[in-house]
């Protein structure tokens, strides 16, 4: 499901926003009536996460965080908001006005109006933690088809309320809300345009949903109180068979192009930021499945946790600001999302 046309897109700018408040694992689980049966740091590598400012006026929420990331991306961009042809917002946790879960109108409309992107087509996409990758796939296709020239893909996730719920509601040592303790709040934004070159372009992106596993991770309101919650069957979601969905599909894709993982010569790989030990397992599996070395694996989850749909781009922005991703680097971004969504994004980054 990918195509290489004459017009290629590229990542022209990236921005992110992380709330300033830090909450450690110990601080999070202090006061739990039933402490989790698993040590968060041992199981996931996560030690702390950023949490929205609950005292801010107006309240910090997914929309306000998304706007901050979008403005940062625009500040770093050669474009102004008025130049954007499309805005796609990708939040799972569509919180605005504090804790109103908004289904209509789209976040993208509010973002468009706030930024002054008068010409932009706008809509939201939702695809769990693969949300921003979905937005990138869509805008990349719109650029390559000539429908648009440049667009903004943005997501804000005020998702730590599910951790607050887990702290209150976890009743068993191995509770389906354990994974909720790993999330952190963040926002990210990327601007794509139609000026891709050999050294600066989205090479290909593909996502697929294996819907047999669609009930393994459900996010909705709690039935125990005025809260939102996420219920995850971790064992069923995170195992070798699920991980092989990525490797099998990408291997088939590369075979069809007469290529191989080794021939792609990736400099870095970025997994969804849900667990460092799991990423190590996935990389070991991938080494076998692709019969190739896996490149340097970038992560930020120790300090930021699982930032949901924003995770890959929070990682990119973090390492780019440190100067650790030289221009011309080729990266592979790999989702792992409820649905279950698997896939890959290959891109070569220019001066971002």
């Amino acid at each position: 499901m990918v195509c290489h046309d004459e017009v290629t897109s590229r990542v022209e700018s990236i921005g992110s926003y992380l709330p300033s408040r830090i909450v450690t694992n110990d601080e999070l689980v202090a006061g739990m009536a039933h402490p989790p049966g698993l040590d968060i740091q041992k199981v996931t590598g996560i030690e702390r996460r950023r949490v929205y400012d609950r005292d801010a006026q107006p309240p910090e929420d997914s929309l306000s965080m998304a706007l901050r990331a979008a403005r940062t991306a625009l500040e770093r961009s050669a474009y102004d908001a008025a130049d954007l042809d499309v805005i796609v917002s990708c939040s799972i946790t569509r919180f605005r006005d504090g804790d109103t879960l908004c289904f209509e109108p789209s976040f993208a409309l509010s973002i468009k109006n706030d930024l002054g992107a008068e010409r932009a087509i706008h809509f939201d996409v939702s695809n769990a933690c693969a949300g921003m990758l979905t937005g990138v796939l869509v805008v990349d296709a719109m650029i390559r088809s000539g429908a648009v020239r440049r667009g903004l893909v943005v997501s804000g996730e005020r998702i730590t309320p599910i951790a607050e719920t887990a702290v209150i509601e976890i009743a068993d040592r191995y509770d389906p809300q354990f994974a909720s303790l790993t999330v952190g709040d963040a926002a990210a934004a990327v601007i794509l345009d139609n000026r891709g070159t050999e050294d600066d372009r989205i090479e290909y992106i593909e996502l697929m949903t294996c819907s047999k596993y669609s009930d393994l991770c459900i996010g909705t309101a709690s039935e125990q109180g005025p809260r939102v919650a996420l219920y995850t069957d971790n064992r069923a979601m995170h195992n070798a068979d699920r991980y092989r969905l990525w490797t099998t599909r990408q291997r088939d894709f590369l075979d069809s192009r007469g290529s191989s993982f080794a021939a792609e010569e990736f400099d870095f790989i970025v997994h969804h930021q849900f667990s460092k030990p799991a990423a190590d397992v996935i990389n070991a599996l991938a080494t076998q499945e692709f019969d190739a070395e896996i490149p340097t694996s970038l992560d930020v989850l120790t300090d930021y946790g699982n930032t949901a749909s924003t995770s890959h781009f929070v990682v990119l922005d973090h390492y780019l600001r440190r100067g650790d991703i030289p221009a011309g680097s080729k990266l592979l971004l790999v989702p792992a999302a409820s649905g279950v969504v698997a896939g890959y994004l290959s891109l070569t980054l220019g001066e971002v």
Binding site: M1, C3, D5, I92, T93, R94, G98, D99, L101, F103, E104, P105, S106, A108, L109, N113, D114, I121, F123, D124, V125, S126, A128, A130, T134, L137, V138, A141, M142, R144, S145, A147, P161, E206, M208, T209, C210, S211, K212, S214, D215, C217, I218, G219, T220, A221, S222, E223, Q224, G225, P226, L230, L245, T248, D252, A337, S338, G339, V340, V341
Partner: protein, 293 residues
């Protein structure tokens, strides 16, 4: 090469919107002669959903029920699915996205499903829910004639916009999964003007005479379609024949009904128009000669 509607199906939502959407999807696939295992992309544009589920995408749950993209193994067709949400305009945004996916060769078919349900999934929810529960599914494919969709035109109000459909979690008690508040704050006349403006833009971009075009409009309120058609000078107006507002399924239902009743036979060109809120969207559609619903 254009993107055309291969088939359309609708299904009343009696309880679960996901179940109804899956039924509509299967019927649309049958109508297009497409096996569920051959679906390349599925986009859900429904806004209000069972139990206010925000994860996974509703499209994944619909896919599961419809038997689409259940598993991947070498040789299987991978299915790209996600939710696209933009109020009543979502279907037309999804058409544009589908056209991009189809024209770049990323996919060979796209299914767009829709439908809105009170999250409690009860026929008489405890709060006013101004939306009629109809699920719909449309199969889009590329066509090698000059039939197909034109260029999407959109417009929206400027300035801050308020939440029109949502649930304030802190006030929902233990009923967060079963509560939703839907309000319509926009001025009717203003939304008609916005919709007529984008409809005109769409028709002009296709170099069509409005008098020769049939307007397919949603039904955010009773007189929306008639007023937009009047302002545009459309040759005919088609709205869904259904009590209430089918919201994200409006255009699909109106089109399906009109095709079945042969109300569009004298029109080569249609213009689909969605609106009634802070955003309006319009796109022309040149009918494939000889197509019946």
């Amino acid at each position: 090469m254009g993107v055309v509607i291969a088939s359309t199906a609708t299904e009343p939502i009696l309880a679960s919107g996901i179940d109804a959407a899956a039924v509509a999807v299967r019927e649309a696939l049958d109508g297009a002669g497409l096996d569920p295992a051959q679906v390349h992309a599925l986009i859900n544009v429904g806004v209000y959903r069972d139990s206010n589920i925000v994860e996974p995408a509703v499209s994944a749950l619909v896919s599961n029920k419809a038997g689409i993209g259940l598993e991947y193994f070498t040789g299987a067709v991978p299915t790209f699915s996600f939710d696209l949400m933009n109020g009543p305009c979502g279907f037309l945004n999804a058409v544009q996205v589908a056209a991009s996916l189809l024209s770049t060769g990323s996919v060979a078919n796209v299914v767009i499903c829709s439908g809105d349900v009170h999250p409690s999934m009860t026929p008489q929810p405890h709060e006013v829910f101004p939306i009629a529960g109809i699920a719909a599914a449309v199969v889009l494919v590329q066509d090698d004639t000059d039939a197909g969709f034109g260029v999407l035109r959109t417009d929206s109000v400027t300035g801050p916009v308020e939440t029109e459909g949502g649930v304030t979690i802190s006030k929902a008690g233990t009923t967060g999964r079963a509560s939703i508040t839907v309000t319509r704050s926009i001025d009717g006349a203003a939304s008609v003007a916005l919709a007529a403006s984008v409809a005109r833009s769409a028709v002009e971009s296709a170099q069509l005479d409005p008098a020769g075009v049939a307007l397919i409009a949603g039904c955010p309120f009773e007189w929306f379609g008639a007023e937009v058609g009047d302002m545009l000078g459309a040759g005919g107006v088609v709205v869904p024949e259904h009590q209430g507002d089918p919201h994200t399924s409006s255009l699909q239902l109106a089109y399906q009904q009109a095709m079945k009743n042969e109300r569009l036979v004298e029109y080569r060109d249609l213009v689909f128009v969605a609106g009634g809120g802070p955003t309006a969207a319009a796109i022309t559609y040149r009918q494939k000669i000889g197509v019946r619903a």
